[in-house]
């Protein structure tokens, strides 16, 4: 593959703290060199030149929590269609969740995902594999072998490991291999039949609620088990002030813990459910405004390390149902960047800190080579205009699914080019150049 020079770019590398105008050279799929003074003596011959027009050039985004229907529900989303959606959203690496059919709980299935991704996807795809066989919460899956096969972390996806003894052993065993256990924190017996946040809106609509304490109790339990075992723990998506507070205490005590927040946990609150809008049925559920603000504060204060899309495609038939029966989930790969940028535009978080939560931090947690701009990293890049105004339009999505509550929302910032391994996988059709 030939060399490409990206000139006239605002280079932002959250890993090193770099934020300056300059240029970046890629060669053979890798970043070869970068810096403000690069090409001061002219661009060498035979190098393709891309003038970034002053746009931001940063590492491609890494999305730690993406649900894809493959294998088992390809009508909702395939690895290929999810990868196109990712590319359009500036995401160069997606971590797919194991709650497929069959469940990704053994080496052969991890390898299946790896093969499919290699052959069909335009972005990098790594699987998270199941913590327990069949996601049943009982028997530990082959964590070590699956890690060798390419599983970057372990999770029971949208389920919590209810049995504390099982979770204790998992964390304990995983610590020997330095594996990351990514847990969806919800005390199921308390959440029971709940379909949205417990509170005023649920009461008015007559819908069974999930109290915030369901999340808090599970996070608090998990922190005790981490303290007991030393296992690396990542809360898959926090949505409540109390749980964030609990995690902050755990971090202050020096525990090896981290957390993510889903975009919907800071971009929306429970009022988006309105009159039974099933597109606003999410996991974790949309919480009240105080919790939403706590998520923003948690991100700004560094308690929450990662922003993830929780991309969860659902077909029309599973959403056009009474709220209680409708499927959970919203798509998010193509809206993660502009919705996260709202936090930058409204002054909550600086741009580099914000990008760190979608690049460098997830790369660190998962042990990936990307997520940074440096000569030893793959040329996975995102070039975007952080100020460009546009309106989210479901008709322009690359995802197979359309279940978004953001249709029509005015936002700022959109990808101009997405580059994976030095190859342009997305180019904004409306940019005019």
């Amino acid at each position: 593959m030939s060399a490409t020079a990206y000139t006239n770019a605002r280079l932002i590398d959250p890993a090193s703290g770099l934020d300056s105008l300059g240029a970046l050279l890629t060669n053979d799929g890798q970043i070869a060199d970068l810096g403000p003074g690069l090409f001061a003596g002219g661009i060498p011959d035979g190098v393709e030149v891309v003038d970034c027009g002053g746009r931001v050039l940063c590492p491609g985004l890494i999305d730690m929590r993406v649900f894809v229907g493959e294998p088992g529900a390809e009508h909702k989303e395939t690895l290929a269609s999810a990868s196109l959606a990712a590319a359009a959203g500036g995401v160069t690496c997606i971590i797919v969740q194991p709650n497929t059919d069959p469940v990704i709980d053994d080496v052969a299935l991890v390898e299946y995902i790896k093969r499919q991704a290699r052959d069909k996807a335009v972005v990098r795809i790594h699987p998270m594999a199941a913590i327990t066989k069949g996601l049943c919460g009982e028997k530990m899956a082959e964590l070590g072998l699956m890690a060798q096969a390419d599983a970057v972390a372990f999770t029971d996806a949208d389920r919590a490991v209810a049995d504390a003894q099982v979770m204790r052993r998992v964390l304990s065993y995983a610590s020997a291999f330095n594996l990351l256990i990514c847990h969806y924190p919800e005390e199921r017996t308390l959440a029971r039949n709940g379909v949205m946040n417990a509170g005023e809106v649920a009461m008015r609509l007559g819908l069974p609620g999930i109290p915030t304490q369901a999340e808090t109790i599970m996070v608090e339990r998990d922190l005790r088990l981490v303290e007991m075992t030393g296992g690396r723990y990542h809360a898959a998506c926090l949505s409540t002030a109390q749980a964030i507070e609990a995690l902050a205490v755990g971090k202050a005590r020096g525990l090896p813990v981290s957390a993510a927040a889903a975009v919907h946990s800071f971009a929306l609150n429970e009022t988006a459910v309105g009159e039974y809008r099933t597109f606003a049925k999410t996991a974790p559920p949309l919480r009240d405004e105080a919790d939403r603000q706590a998520v923003v504060a948690g991100l700004a204060g560094g308690i929450i390390d990662v922003i993830c899309s929780c991309h969860d495609p659902q077909d029309v038939e599973s959403k056009r149902l009474p709220f209680e029966l409708a499927a959970t989930g919203i798509i998010g790969l193509e809206t993660m960047l502009p919705l996260a940028l709202e936090l930058y535009h409204n002054g909550a978080i600086g741009l580099s800190d914000l990008l760190a939560k979608m690049t460098w931090r997830p790369a660190q947690l998962l042990g990936l080579r990307g997520g940074k701009l440096s000569p030893d990293a793959p040329a996975d890049l995102l070039i975007f205009d952080p100020d460009k105004p546009w309106r989210i339009d479901e008709d322009n999505f690359h995802s197979k699914a359309k279940n978004t509550p953001y249709h029509g929302r005015p936002v700022q910032g959109r990808p101009w080019r997405t580059v994976v391994g030095g190859r342009v996988v997305y180019s904004d059709p409306n940019s005019g150049d």
């Binding site: 005023e200 009461m203 609509l205 007559g206 819908l207 009159e275 039974y276 149902l321």
Partner: protein, 326 residues
């Protein structure tokens, strides 16, 4: 009762009490009053809905509400068809949206729906060209029950404004409670909710009600005592320890009722669990209990609702070139 909205009842559907104004409610109740008189005559039948089709679609078993709607439709001259979930395609896996599309193709003029899921009736109404009436959806709303309760109270006490009404029992799961709390608040009554904390929604205080866990305290000086039914499956240790314990603390008996105003009325949406939430003798006390009157008001209120909603479309719609209505 002169503040009737000048353009008549402004809605196509009746999906809930939420969103109705005092004048909307008054309009329904005034018209229902006329139907009470009519229903007490030997000749009860009118032809206002003659030629129109009313479908009662019940996804949950119901005797009194369905019968009440059926009578209401027939007394106004409509052709009434009853569909129950067990007898229809729903059990074969047809989705609610498909059911709506199928029924819509049969050109009914009114669809009365009961469904076990909150919001299901509203979802169905989006796909129907005719008027849809909510006959109870999950734990959300049961608007005609609240209206018939209001009519019963108004006929007995002359007004709703300023009255103190205690709603007692399983408020958490009750659509009747939600509709009644909203209607009574809209009409300026004071509402109290009396229940053990396990049977109250967490955000109850945001509904504009006063919450009591002690029934003798909650019933003090109230004008109306509204009892709710407690489902059997909620009694055996799940929400309350036992029937016996529930009756002891939250069942209505004469000792507890003595705290209320002397002429306080007892209401119950039925069907009653005698000896669980209400003492058998009290339920039959003709001076205090208006439970059977509620049933009578139910038919009248439903006639009023069917009548008002039918006015949204004239009896002889214009006929298009291919014989289709425009």
């Amino acid at each position: 009762m002169s503040d009737i909205s000048p353009n008549g009842f402004p809605f196509r559907h009746l999906l809930g009490i939420e969103g109705l104004s005092p004048s909307d409610i008054t309009e329904i109740l005034d018209l229902a009053d006329q139907y009470v008189t009519q229903n007490r005559q030997v000749d009860k039948k009118r032809s206002i809905l003659s030629g129109r089709t009313q479908i009662n679609l019940f996804f949950e078993t119901s005797t009194r509400t369905r019968t009440s709607f059926e009578l209401a439709g027939k007394r106004l001259g409509a052709d009434v068809i009853n569909m129950t979930a067990t007898a229809s395609a729903i059990k074969k896996g047809e989705t609610l949206i498909d059911t709506a599309a199928t029924l819509n193709a049969m050109h009914p003029d009114a669809l009365v729906v009961r469904h076990p899921n909150s919001g299901a009736v509203a979802l169905l109404s989006q796909k129907m060209d005719c008027s849809v009436i909510n006959a109870g959806d999950g734990s959300h709303e049961h608007p005609t029950q609240a209206l018939l309760d209001a009519l019963t109270i108004r006929r007995r006490l002359g007004h709703l404004h300023g009255l103190t009404v205690a709603i007692c029992g399983d408020i958490l799961h009750s659509r009747v409670a939600r509709s009644n709390i909203m209607l009574l608040n809209i009409m300026g009554a004071h509402v109290r909710a009396i229940a053990p904390p396990t049977l109250l929604p967490g955000a109850m205080d945001r509904m504009g009600v006063e919450v009591f866990h002690d029934m003798t305290e909650g019933l003090r000086d109230v004008d109306i005592v509204m009892m709710l039914r407690l489902q059997n499956e909620r009694m055996n240790g799940a929400y309350v320890p036992s029937t016996r314990e529930y009756y002891h603390f939250f069942g209505l008996d004469s000792a507890k009722l003595a705290k209320a105003k002397q002429e306080a009325l007892i209401m119950h949406p039925g069907p009653m669990n005698r000896g669980v939430e209400i003492d058998s003798e009290l339920a039959d006390d003709i001076n205090r209990s208006v439970i059977r009157e509620q049933v009578e008001m139910g038919v009248a209120v439903r006639m009023a609702v069917l009548d008002l909603l039918s006015r949204q479309t004239s009896n002889q719609p214009p006929v298009g070139p291919e014989g289709t209505t425009t």
